[in-house]
Subunit: 468 residues, 2 copies
């Protein structure tokens, strides 16, 4: 590290800080749009980092975004398109000329180009492809041939590979000469060099930092790290992300079916995937089909109504259980007053267990090796909590309704419901996972159905048997 | 990129695949532990990647882990300690000799060393520090002086900086000569070189890939990227992660109060933080205080009981609302049968709105610029869903109980409760955020209290007014 005399001079360089969203700027932007002032829009957005631009653009309402694109279509640069969220790209692309889309896709690395291509309406894809150079078109078509959300879709076809017998100096010289060519095929950024054999099969990798500190005459094969994580193109992106996290990867090579190096995935895409998968999990748990604040009222309603409908059915099932005990409730109306407590405590216990399980499945901390232990732990913990709150609720019930029998019945029902809730909370996601379903998607409904039905049935049933 | 003749040779190299957890291995490990066979443990774990080792180790029960450390303490390498989850490190450290801990901390980059130090019981910290070299101790103490979960804690003190007037070749030569020194102060891995002025203030950065492709006589100041994101040590780690995501950073420099370069944060730590923050949000929403499958029954109970207690209080509040209408329920027991449906649909609507809001706050898609639009959207969407399900539930109620009045009452109550639920779902997290609280932590309880109380009150109150 270079050493300089230390001084107490205070830097006045303007550092990017996290107070990043200059809201005044969006207000000014909205005004410029309202005034149909394309020049003002360009001035406001000049020299912005594409990530900043994307943030501002996403803050606008759908109408304002449309107006902005019409007034100043040139603001939509290739790098801005690469930064925008998918749903926003989907809205923006129809507003652009085919030529602008083609140009953007040619300028970007192939992974970003494919992400844009994905958002094009099917009928416009041929048109955009027809304009592209032979090589770029082939890259898009090849990438698009892989399933959505797989490594093949995700990878970029630009990477750096070198044979094992090359020296450090040869490798550096090669990159320098490559970057002087007009059709420079080097990725915009890269972090590792993949060392390959004569058949283009990866043998190891060399972080650039290792290349940097190695003697110029060292041979790559001698200094490479052979502990290489190679990714198959059909691998699900969630699994790719898991490998990156587990092995602290910055980039990883993708091979074709013959084991030849065919692409590269970098960590910046992984960060995005982790965020997307997390949004997916949270929304699935809450019963929202898709999300994003770019949504309109219509899409919000359609994203949420289906699960509300399912919830209505399960709520009616719970009501049906209550209806079996109408005569008991007529005789002892305290039952109606207290019954939601048993159901609610069960629902809460179930949700707790469920969320911990979903998260543990997502981070792969819950595996066949510890499943039985975790199930036992959940069951025990639910019983212990059941006993604790049975005492509390029993005492409250006794004080409120002056009936020791009612207190005993609600205490017993609570222990039983919490036990079922804890078990359902762990078994439902495990079961869904086992049959190949996404455990986050339907778990909540199953578990709360169990806790409502069991809660009402246990409390009202015990009351019918012992109180009346 | 090196070009080779393509062949159809199929690679038989064993690639790391995602089918990663060799459960047989854990079984064998458990057997070796049961047999108190340290040699077998060492054989089973020899040559494993620290990340694999960490996974296996975490699969074991707490007792088995303790036994393993006693039988083969040398298995706990510095790099394994760096890979383990915090809670596991906390359990393992007391089983190790102080010398082993000191050695591990000296061997690791300072960010990893501090993470281990954090998990040491306070009374053992001095002892471990005393054994360390002057420089390493100072690094730990300096890092530890920053608050938890800040950039200062997170950063490593090893980084590469070079003055702006150095040439590419000089820089490479400098790194090569550095790495030959016995006290090589270069980071294990690095991705960017920070370009500094004579006062050690960062001026820009140079990705290694840029350095690689630049002519050897180019001067750093000419080829550096001045669009540098500089991080202050007091910045919250969540904000640091946000900056990494937004600008697709691989590393970022941290400066001290005088603006001088003092550390570096790398993206692999960020991936971990993003995962941790996700876990935190999800568990907070579900009312679980802390998590991890390494937990025992006791810690599971203590992590969940507090929120169950809060839930009990809110459930009792809802019951109190019901108790105000006991005479109405006695007269028309159908009210008791139907009332949970209104509350449940409200709870679900509230949870949906809440989760979308929490997620949008976490990803910074919900900002002052679009808050009003989002609130309006949530309110409208809730009313639309309210009207849809009011019709459905009204018809069902009419068919079930043959009362048009009861159907109208439940329909009206449902629309009103869903409207309140949608509003509470967005306003509660925004309000918590405004007063500086974590919106994920208490939102669920507030929102479900609203939906329960409003649901029961609206339905039973309307019934009291119009039916009886």
């Amino acid at each position: 590290m270079a050493e300089f005399p230390e001084t107490t001079h205070v830097s006045d360089a303007s550092h990017t800080s996290v107070a990043d969203l200059d809201i005044g700027h969006v207000d000014a932007l909205q005004d410029a749009i309202k005034n149909q002032d394309g020049a003002a829009i360009r001035t406001l957005l000049a020299d912005e980092h594409p990530a900043e631009l994307a943030d501002r653009f996403e803050q606008l309402s759908a109408d304002d975004r449309e107006a902005l694109v019409e007034l100043a279509p040139d603001v939509i640069s290739p790098f801005l398109l690469a930064e925008l969220e998918d749903e926003v790209v989907e809205d923006v692309l129809p507003l652009l000329q085919p030529g602008q889309i083609t140009k953007a896709m040619e300028e970007l690395d192939s992974d970003d180009a494919i992400q844009i291509f994905e958002e094009l309406p099917a009928e416009r894809r041929a048109e955009v492809l027809a304009d592209m150079s032979e090589q770029d078109r082939k890259e898009i078509e090849d990438g698009f041939a892989f399933d959505e959300e797989t490594a093949g879709r995700l990878m970029q076809r630009e990477f750096v590979a070198a044979p094992e017998f090359w020296s450090v100096q040869q490798t550096i010289d090669h990159m320098r000469s490559q970057s002087k060519k007009s059709d420079d095929n080097l990725p915009d950024k890269f972090f590792d060099i993949y060392v390959i054999d004569a058949h283009f099969h990866p043998l190891g990798y060399l972080p650039l930092s290792t290349l940097m500190r190695s003697d110029p005459d060292r041979v790559l094969g001698d200094i490479m790290d052979t502990n290489l994580t190679v990714i198959k193109p059909e691998l699900d992106q969630e699994d790719v992300a898991y490998l990156f996290e587990k092995y602290d990867l910055i980039s990883a090579p993708v091979v074709d079916t013959d084991g030849r190096l065919s692409g590269m995935i970098t960590v910046d895409d992984i960060v995005e995937i982790i965020q997307d998968e997390h949004t997916e999990d949270m929304l699935a748990l809450a019963g929202v089909n898709e999300a994003g604040l770019v949504d309109t009222v219509t899409s919000t309603v359609t994203a949420r109504a289906p699960w509300l409908f399912v919830n209505l059915l399960t709520a009616i099932a719970a009501s049906f259980v209550i209806s079996l005990f109408q005569s008991e409730i007529e005789k002892l109306v305290a039952l109606a007053v207290l019954m939601p407590i048993v159901a609610s405590m069960g629902g809460n216990t179930g949700t707790q267990a469920l969320t911990v399980a979903i998260r543990a499945l997502a981070t792969r901390d819950l595996t066949p090796a510890n499943t039985n232990r975790v199930i036992r732990r959940e069951a025990f913990a639910a019983i212990v909590n059941g006993l604790i709150f049975a005492v509390v609720l029993g005492v409250i019930t006794f004080v409120w309704f002056k009936s020791i029998d009612l207190a005993l019945v609600i205490a017993a029902a609570l222990v039983f419901n919490l036990f079922c809730a804890g078990l359902a909370g762990i078994l439902v996601p495990l079961g869904l996972k086992k049959i190949g379903a996404d455990p986050a998607v339907a778990s909540t409904v199953f578990v709360t159905t169990v806790t409502d039905v069991v809660g009402f049935f246990a409390f009202l049933g015990l009351a019918a048997m012992f109180l009346l």
